[in-house]
Symmetry: C2
Subunit: 148 residues, 2 copies
DNA sequence: CTAGATGCAAACAGTTTGCGTCACT
DNA sequence: AGTGACGCAAACTGTTTGCATCTAG
């Protein structure tokens, strides 16, 4: 979608100031494998900028997520959520208000593994999240789009 | 799988003492719709047992999750996790150690909505979590099985 | 020049733990 | 009777905020 580009342009497209801290945080994240936590990102960034503040790392991760420059592994709802619905179902998750709505399994083509999962991973079940904008948020927000 | 049953039997099957608090917490959760947080469950339970402690609610939610009597909406990893992998992919999630491994989109039959999602929900993307036991945990645990 | 970014410390929210007492089995 | 559950308060972890200073545009 976007041609290959440098960090300044990327920030400009998202209307963000291209600061040194931001660049190092962003490049650190994209260079990492796995699914790093803010704390781990902070550690790695400090190797480049020892004086950086943890708050700056948090603020910028949030900024990147909000602008769509980065994505989080799964939307977190601040606290643990218990699932009272015992029937097989999936979830509709709103990326704005983070509301979760159940979605019957029958509304989705059956999800099946095409390939064996790697190296002895024993599958127990498959959970599907349909991510998007709920009706309520869609109506009040003709404005800001947001990636997920 | 299980015949309809009462709370005492349910606890017995999971080797848990059937206390009054436990019963009220469990029945409160299963009577709720949506995806309640511990705080909300606490509020509701206090309507029945005003003297109950928040710690008891937390301890028992944890107990229910660990025993498989209840399930959580999505495994939470304690902290926010950033996704550096920009390619379309899904996740293999271990229910024991909570490790997350990327799983290429091609390893799964394409996931498609069969029905229109309800009431003007605008779908942006579909995220699939394959839940199970990773090889590492499987080897060291011939023992305790656990539901997810 | 000015809006917005940084760094620090303090505040917060959510969750867990230690421990004395009480209740289920 | 003994093991484990409860209730309370204190501790902890992860994250956000207020504010003074600095910097990109």
């Amino acid at each position: 979608m976007f041609p290959s580009t440098n960090f300044r342009e990327l920030c400009h497209r998202h209307q963000l100031a291209a600061t040194h801290q931001r660049q190092v945080i962003y490049e650190t994240v994209t260079s990492l494998s796995g699914h790093p936590s803010p704390e781990l990102i902070y550690e790695k960034v400090r190797e480049k900028i020892p004086s950086i503040s943890l708050a700056t790392v948090y603020k910028n991760i949030r900024t990147f997520l909000d602008s769509g420059m980065l994505r989080e592994v799964s939307l977190h709802h601040g606290s643990l959520r218990v699932e009272p619905n015992q029937r097989p179902h999936h979830h509709l998750v709103c990326i704005h208000c983070k509301s979760i709505t159940d979605f019957d399994e029958a509304g989705l083509d059956p999800v099946r593994l095409r390939a064996k999962p790697p190296r002895g991973f024993q599958v127990q079940r498959i959970a599907v999240d349909v991510l998007g904008i709920c009706a309520k948020c869609a109506s009040k927000a003709a404005h800001k789009p947001r990636k997920v």
